[in-house]
């Protein structure tokens, strides 16, 4: 079993708005090992992106703040680092890919410069070694003809290519942890498959641990080793991917999997989960999923279920599970 690169313990993140405190992440715990891809899946608004931003300590200010818990990266609790040290960590130890490739790159600088900036910042290389490093990052992301690409501007590239450049920036200093926040959502379906294959390739070459945030189960099944299912700020089930699909234990997980449309079963009505996710300012008492849960019991409406470890790798928070 390889080492654990990231350990998140009881993370709490809130946004302080004019209308009150919004507990976007309310007690989330998970871990990710070296060379492993951990998926965080859930509906829009469940807090998965905020989790990623919290780990990077890049919450929007004013308003967003981590209010509790630990984030231990390679043995160090990075929530305790001062700003300067955290900056040193960003890009070098942990990096992030954002969702929209059309917006992520600075339109007025060439892409070579944008990658080089990262290299110069975190690696102590003599100037003539910088460009080869940039080119190697581009190659890692399988960008063709990297030597000529470095002088191009973002608008000259297609969406899929831009996303690879973003990936190159992220991987240019070979971080230990990569957080990918819905990187395929804005890409065409045909490009998605290629891009996902890239991740596997990168992981094989660099042993990086990846957190893959998405709402798309198909992507999860393709690339993730383990999955955490998030709902209304909490992780309700964590398990290896195969087990999640074959034997989900949490009602929300099974409902999610059921709602993925399937081509092999004909004449079926599309399944969707009744109701809406709760307002993050007015959370229900007890289990947060209980208002929409088809198998909820009385105790579900009164008390939040504890986390139960079924096996080393599989945990659930549900009163139905003993």
């Amino acid at each position: 079993m390889s080492n654990i690169v990231l350990q998140v313990e009881d993370l709490h993140t809130s946004f302080f708005t004019r209308m009150g405190e919004v507990k976007a992440v309310d007690g989330v715990s998970f871990f990710v090992r070296e060379s492993e891809t951990f998926g965080i899946v859930g509906e829009s608004g469940c807090g998965k992106s905020v989790t990623g931003l919290s780990i990077m300590r890049l919450l929007p200010e004013p308003g967003g703040r981590v209010t509790g818990g630990k984030v231990i990266l390679e043995g160090k609790n990075i929530l305790e680092l001062n700003k300067k040290m955290m900056r040193a960590y960003r890009g070098k130890m942990v990096s992030m890919i954002l969702q929209d490739p059309m917006q992520s790159l600075n339109p007025v600088y060439q892409i070579g410069d944008q990658i080089a900036e990262s290299v110069r910042l975190h690696q102590d290389l003599p100037e003539n070694m910088v460009e080869p490093e940039v080119i190697s990052a581009l190659r890692l992301l399988r960008i063709p003809a990297p030597e000529s690409r470095i002088n191009e501007y973002p608008f000259q590239l297609s969406g899929g290519m831009r996303q690879r450049v973003v990936g190159a920036i992220a991987m240019s200093c070979r971080p230990r942890l990569l957080i990918a926040d819905e990187p395929t959502t804005a890409l065409d379906a045909t490009i998605q498959a290629q891009y996902i294959a890239l991740f596997e390739d990168i992981q094989a070459k660099t042993n990086v641990a990846i957190i893959f945030i998405t709402h798309d189960f198909a992507v999860i099944s393709r690339i993730c080793d383990r999955v955490g299912v998030m709902y209304a700020g909490k992780i309700v089930e964590t398990a290896p991917t195969r087990e999640i699909f074959k034997a989900p234990r949490h009602p929300y997980t099974s409902a999610l999997i059921q709602s993925v449309p399937r081509l092999d079963r004909k004449d079926e009505r599309l399944f969707s989960i009744e109701g809406q996710p709760p307002s993050m300012m007015h959370l229900p008492a007890g289990c947060r999923f209980s208002p929409r849960c088809t198998v909820s019991m009385d105790i579900c409406k009164e008390q939040e279920p504890p986390e139960i470890k079924l096996t080393e790798d599989h945990s659930v928070s549900c009163w139905r599970v003993k």
Partner: protein, 307 residues
Amino acid sequence: MTRFIIIRFLQSIVAFFGIMVLVFFLVRASGDPTVFLRSTTSTPEQVDLLRHKLGIDKGIGTQFWIYLKDYAKLDFGQSYSQQRTVAQEIKDSLPNTLKLGIPSFVIGMILAILLGVWSATKRDSWIDNGVKFIAVLGQALPGFWVAIMAVFIFSVHWRLLPAQGNNSIACYVLPVGTMVFFMLPGMMRLVRSSMLDVLDSEYVKLARIKGLSETKVIWKHALRNAMISPLTTAGMLFAGIVGGAVITENIFNWPGMGRLAVTATMARDFPVVQTIALLVAIMVLGINLFVDIAYAWVDPQIRYQKS
């Protein structure tokens, strides 16, 4: 890119010609300059002679043709109210205006950028609130009034700074301050809001993800994009500066083109006003052209598409 410049340049020439025509007819719209220049005892023959001397007894078409010819020769004519040529009047006053205008512009821009960026990055701090306050006050209070109050306080009451003359550095303080006051609120607000938009963008987030220091994020990544928007209003900014210059020169009796324009207007001195108008028009078109080119240079997308 060169094709772009050439087209824009040609458009400017057409526009300038249009403005020349406009100014010509505007200036002669209804006024009869002899009204000011003749005394109550002039005989009709003397008035006619005056008319002939000023060249306004010819038909409009002829006048226009003479106008074009003269201007092409850079002969701007004789001032109606002074015994000098228009060219001389302008040669004397233009440097003074520049002496006032250029420092004011530079100081104004630097302050606007500094304060605008500072206010955008430290939201809700005392700087931000101060900037917002100045912006509101600066856009509401009339510039001439503030200048007069400044004169009253600093010059009359406290006797700190002179209100007239242009021979010492101290003489520059109040006029330059007034000019800056005209420019600052609008520009500052623009920089601030543009900066706020840019700071929200994904690529700024990415810059932070890379681990860049906040200073680099703001001044290298954010600002360059944020300045694109205020740049395009540089043309309008110039219009404001002209207005401010006219008023400032008037208040402080600064012997520049602004004061000249007003005194010439009072005296119905057509040639002077006309020439100043055209000079300013050239500057306006020049600035517009410059802005278009600069915009293309700064934003690579435009540059590549036009080539």
